[in-house]
């Protein structure tokens, strides 16, 4: 992502060809080895519960929660105020960096590391929960029915955000960020008022995205006891229960990130030509829709082939949902591969902006004068992180899909059914690496 005039002024170097070749070859190899050596019975679900975390860790996490909750709310309000009333300059206004870097890149990575902390920290939920309590309603409950109870509203919200970030011609304008945040918060709070704060768990696209990534985390809270538990990273995927619209959420995210990479290639530069403003927005919108479409069609075709090979007579959509969890590691991988350097470099600018959120010349934390140190990590390190993320995401996806297959089908059928799924994952992985190669 290059937001004009400031945020993300630097983009990553193309991946060295040798590194591309090694990682693509490794991904192919591991895919076929996986078929031979992986377990014949599902194992992830049993491991997903893990064991109790040390009491001290639980205690620290629990006592940090209100701090994080208030901090997130304050930061959200500061971002809104800055977007609406702050300086009209991307680099000097807190809002664009807060939204596109700290929130959009930072929170997903934290969710994959720490678990679903956003469930409680989400400022929209905080506000809606207070309103629910005032109205003597259970903030965890949702009375939504029909399509409102599915993940489709979440997918729509994320699609709007991705369109703004990747297709609209002035994504970095503080005013535009302000309009988006205000409108998004407004719609979410109206939904929460209508159905209860609990609706945000399925209706708020960001919350849904973060909770899906949290399935990868080594930390989770037990639903009944509320105690913190430790588990192997990734095993939580077995507990993800995709519903209607979950597949749309994941495919929109995957397609969006793929388009972000694609829009940085010379191919797209040529397609865009000299178009600017709304002309560029229209072409980029087409590209974004196309990218999501390609990713989605590949996945649906693979799911259909799996069903045919396994003699599964469920409808395509219904049985496609079952494979959605195996895409989650790939979503995280794409996000890390494309945005790691943005987080490292522009994150420094976020720290500086926090000291002077409204451009008033404040220096709250003594960081206002900080400038971005572009030597903080080397291009080689960035390249290794990118490749490691993509390959790890691939391995995670293959394992999750395999585990789901042996859960659904007898071992021999399961292995046979996995060829199409492996194919689509190789396509995503090699495609992702190709985008990095041509960055």
């Amino acid at each position: 992502m290059i937001l004009a005039h400031g945020v993300g002024g630097r983009a990553d170097l193309p991946l060295p060809v040798w590194l591309f070749a090694y990682s693509a070859a490794f991904a192919l190899l591991i895919s076929f080895v996986a078929l031979r050596i992986l377990w014949p019975r599902p194992r992830l679900a049993a491991a997903a519960d893990g064991r109790p975390a040390p009491a001290l860790l639980d205690h620290v996490a629990t006592s940090l929660r209100p701090v994080a909750q208030i901090g997130a709310l304050v930061l959200f309000v500061a971002t809104l105020v800055s977007a609406w009333f702050g300086v009209d300059a991307v680099a000097d206004n807190l809002a664009p960096t807060a939204l596109y870097v700290a929130f959009w890149v930072g929170v997903p990575i934290l969710s994959a590391l720490l678990g679903d902390f956003w469930r409680r920290v989400n400022p929209l939920w905080t506000v809606a929960a207070v309103l629910d309590r005032l109205g003597r309603r259970d903030p965890e409950a949702s009375t939504a029915t029909g399509i409102w109870a599915t993940h489709w509203p979440a997918a729509a919200g994320l699609a709007v955000f991705l369109w703004l970030e990747l297709a609209y011609h002035e994504p970095g304008s503080p005013a535009v960020v302000g309009i988006f945040l205000g409108a998004y918060a407004g719609v979410m709070l109206v939904g929460a008022a209508a159905f209860g704060a609990g609706w945000l768990r399925t209706g708020d696209g960001f919350a849904v995205f973060f909770s899906l990534l949290a399935a990868l985390a080594p930390l989770h809270r037990d639903d009944e006891s509320g105690r913190l538990r430790l588990r192997w990273p990734g095993v939580g995927l077995a507990r993800v229960e995709p519903g209607r619209g979950t597949m749309a959420v994941v495919l929109v995210l995957l397609g969006g990130t793929a388009f972000d990479g694609f829009s940085r290639t010379a191919v797209w530069d040529d397609a865009l030509g000299t178009r600017r403003g709304w002309d560029a927005t229209i072409v980029n919108t087409a590209g974004l829709v196309l990218a999501i479409g390609v990713v989605a069609v590949l996945f649906l075709v693979a799911c259909r082939l799996v069903a045919i090979l396994a003699n599964d007579d469920r409808g395509t959509l219904e049985q496609s949902w079952r494979w959605v969890p195996s895409l989650i590691p790939i979503v995280l991988a794409y996000s890390v591969a494309h945005y790691f350097s943005l987080l490292v470099f522009e994150g420094q600018s976020f720290v500086a902006l926090l000291s002077d959120p409204f451009g008033e010349g404040w220096d709250l934390f003594g960081t206002a004068g900080n400038t971005i140190d572009y030597t903080a990590v080397s291009p080689e390190f960035i390249a290794y992180v990118q490749v490691a993320a993509i390959v790890a995401g691939h391995v995670g996806g293959v394992i999750a899909a395999h585990d789901r297959a042996v859960e659904l089908y007898p071992p021999r059928v399961a292995v046979r059914s996995q060829y199409p799924m492996l194919g689509v994952m190789i396509a995503y992985t090699v495609g992702g690496l190709l985008l990095l190669l041509n960055a």
């Binding site: 290059i2 002024g9 630097r10 983009a11 010379a266 530069d269 000299t274 600017r276 403003g277 350097s341």
Partner: protein, 263 residues
């Protein structure tokens, strides 16, 4: 007469030689009314070279005036020249008078040997564009009829040196110091010479941008700007010391000029 012939020949062939010869005995020729021809020739030479000519100098009498000069850079533009004299009065009202009383007159200002202006007072603002580097500022006291003041054969003058910023070492030998030059032309929104350019890390790079509209060139990441005027080439030189891919853009019209791949 023979003496005069020789002199004339010398003047005719080598003006420079004439000059040196004329300067050699200023006090004597100043009173020598017989060497009319030589005097005229020498005078014209003196004017050409901006050199004080002995035959047309003015000998100061006690108290001998003195002059000092000081140059300070003006906050806005140019330099302020302060001429500090003793036993000397600026008499612009008498300029071009044949008569001069010792201790009155005006001054001449030279920069790098070239006469810039007459001075009628102790302050002068030296404006205009000076090339980056060192320049010699010389102030000379003159009689009303412009003859330079001398005392015991030495011109009464003062010299100071000013240094114009702009780093003559980086700008003067342009080709060597510009490093890798990337030429970009923008016309009617179309960019010529655009696309991706590879640059070695640590190398010096100059972007030479010609545009048909007034705008600013912005190198993202490095965050350096350069104004560009319509129809005039603007140059932006920088050390490529941050690795990565960077966009160069015409800021106001949001036109991407090039991408620099620094590695």
């Amino acid at each position: 007469m023979r003496h005069r012939h020789v002199w004339r020949a010398l003047v005719g062939v080598f003006a420079a030689t004439t000059l040196v010869a004329a300067c050699g005995d200023d006090t004597e020729t100043a009173t020598d009314t017989t060497t009319t021809t030589a005097d005229t020739t020498a005078d014209s030479t003196a004017n050409d070279g901006g050199h004080d000519h002995g035959g047309r100098s003015f000998e100061a009498v006690d108290p001998v005036p003195t002059v000092e000069v000081e140059a300070t850079e003006d906050a806005k533009a140019g330099w302020n020249i302060h001429v500090m004299t003793t036993d000397f009065t600026f008499t612009p009202e008498k300029v071009n008078d044949a008569e001069t009383t010792s201790g009155e007159g005006h001054a001449h200002l030279y920069v790098d040997g070239t006469k810039i202006n007459r001075l009628y007072g102790s302050w002068y603002h030296l404006g205009g564009e000076l090339e980056p580097g060192e320049h010699e500022v010389r102030v000379e006291l003159n009689a009303n009829d412009h003859r330079p003041y001398v005392a015991d054969g030495t011109p009464i003058a003062a010299t100071t040196t000013i240094t114009v910023e702009g780093d003559s070492t980086t700008e003067t030998p342009v080709d060597e110091e510009a490093g890798q030059v990337i030429e970009i032309t923008v016309s009617g929104g179309e960019v010529t010479g655009g696309g991706r350019h590879e640059v070695a890390l640590g190398e010096r790079v100059t972007l030479r941008v010609t545009s048909d509209i007034d705008d600013h060139v912005h190198l993202h990441g490095y965050d350096v700007f350069q104004d560009v005027a319509a129809g005039e080439a603007a140059e932006l030189t920088f050390e490529a010391d941050i690795p990565g891919v960077f966009e160069v853009e015409l800021e106001d019209s949001v036109i991407q000029l090039v991408e620099l791949e620094v590695s």
